[in-house]
Every structure is written in C-alpha cells, then in structure tokens.
Symmetry: C2
Subunit: 174 residues, 2 copies
C-alpha cells in the first residue's frame, strides 16, 4: 500500500480562516486573504500588533477549534481505504499545539489511529510515496512525489503538481 503524508495546517484544517477569525476577534481588524496572495496575512498587520499575533500560535485554543478544510475529512476517509495515510504536521514549532492537534484529529478523523500521526519539524525526515503540503519548503526536502495544496501564500510557487482543493486531491489520487 502506498504511503501518503498529509499536512494539517492549510491543508486538512483551514488555518488561514482561523487566523482571520482571531485577528478580527482580538484586534477588530478585517484582513483580506486576496490581498495577501503570495505573501502572508501577518504582513497586513500594523507592526505593533505582530508580536501579539505570533503568540496566537502558542495558545492551545488556536489549534483546538480550527475549522476543517472543505471536503477534507470525506476525501481523507476515502484515501485511507486505498493508501496508508499519515498526518504529518510541523507541530514541534508550537509546544502548546500537541494536545489540541491530537484531540482535533481524534474528534474529526477518528479513522486515523495514533500510529499514523506524526508531529514533526523538518519534513525531510518523512518517508512516504506522496506528500500533500502547502509549503514548497516541505516538498523540497521530500524524496517522493510532492503535491502542492493551493493556499493564498503559495499562489506564485511553481515546480510541483498543484491540487487546488480536496476534490482535486480525490480526482488525482482516487
């Protein structure tokens, strides 16, 4: 069975939507994802708010109630019948994200057992046939086939087969 390594933030979960929500709630600001294309939302923030915004990522609730990416759970379930699916997320960057991420997975994708969850940093350590990720720097370090999951920040990146949403993932892999 071929192994697929699937990223969480920006792929299985809608991290940009969570960022917009927290920025709105904490700062009262409506940022524009479209205007952030090819860059990061972060740079639309006034400089004096940026340090606080970075701290959001260290707050346990940030990763706890993060919304699922549209069709993500359904297609993941289908993939898990044809492939050995691993969730590979760069969680070690955020000490307080471990338990919330683990609980999120248990709640939303209970068909992925603990043996198939990987909290890592550098994805150069990942051994799989296919990797789906929204960061080219993760795919660059990966030996298998990299699929670039479209996110606002990567719209100008090239060099990888691009999947624009989970339905395209299904079409390509199933």
């Amino acid at each position: 069975m071929k192994k697929i390594a699937i990223d969480m933030d920006g792929v299985l979960v809608n991290t940009p939507m969570q960022a917009l929500k927290w920025i709105k709630r904490e700062f009262g600001l409506d940022l524009d994802l479209k205007k952030a294309e090819g860059s990061y939302l972060f740079y639309q923030l006034p400089e004096e708010l940026r340090a606080t915004a970075i701290e959001f990522l260290q707050h346990p609730d940030y990763f706890r109630d993060i919304p699922v990416m549209e069709n993500g759970v359904e297609v993941l379930r289908e993939l898990s019948e044809e492939y050995e699916v691993f969730i590979t997320t760069a969680a070690t960057q955020f000490r307080h994200s471990f338990a919330p991420k683990f609980d999120w997975l248990e709640k939303h994708v209970p068909f992925i057992d603990w043996k198939h969850i990987v909290f890592c940093g550098s994805k150069s350590i990942i051994n799989a046939d296919i990797m789906i990720d929204d960061h080219t720097f993760n795919l660059d370090n990966f030996d298998g086939e990299g699929l670039l999951f479209t996110q606002y920040h990567n719209v100008n990146k090239t060099g990888y087969k691009r999947v624009n949403d989970w339905l395209e993932v299904r079409d390509y892999l199933l």
Copy 2:
C-alpha cells in the same frame, strides 16, 4: 550529512529505571530487571495491578523527570556534530507525553532544535540513514541501517547490529 533517527524510551532515557521507580513507589514492590529479560517487567506484576501500571504511562510526570541513559547526552552531542540527528519517539501512543517529552528534550538536549524532534507512532514513516532503537518492530519497518540498542526486553533478539550502551554507539558511529 547522514541522518540518524534516535529513539527516546529505553535508548536516550532510562524508561526501565523509571518503571522500577514508579512500581516501587506506588505498589511498594521491588521488581527484578534481570528476571524480566526477554519479556517485560509488566508481567512480573500481579494481574490486579497491571491496569494501574499501564496508566502510569498516561501520567504527565512519568515522562517529565525520567532519567537520562548513561552517557546518552554526551554522545548525542558528539553525534550531532557529525550527523543530522533526529529524536524519533513513539509519543502519539500516550497523549499526555507530548509536552513532558518536549520539555525533557529542551532541558537535557537543548542542542536538538524543534525541527529535529519527531513524535510519531509507526516508525515506517521515518526517512533516515541510521536508526537506533530498542524495539526490533521499529527497525523491521525502517529502510536504512538499524542498530538495536540493548534493553532487558530485547536480549534474545537477533538480526541487527547491536549496541549495548552509548559508548558503543560512539565507537561504532564516530
């Protein structure tokens, strides 16, 4: 630079010693590591205590103050100058072990950064040149060179180059 994946429990940290300590403290029992060779300490416990003993592994303090394996930190530091060292530990089996394990690493081996820490389940997902582990079932699923770190439970296992302690790791790899 060659990549080495190094296990925590039973390799970098002295998990059997922690088990003996907790069993003594909680049950007042002195178990015998020598008599458990080729098996697990667990089976020396009276049946009625086993469920409680398994719960130790879900207690955050169990992994927090676990003793370092003799010479482990020193040799790991030396290895990290010649190899790209990843700590690869099957932490996803124990939901409450993430933060204690992360904090342990930060305290005892601060020269290993977050990019080189992997909390996983199945080690078949690990891509490295060398893996040091005390479980043959982890080495069996690994594509690179597996080194079996001697522990009481694996003394009868064969099929891998064996390293009996960290000084032998140093001799073999440096």
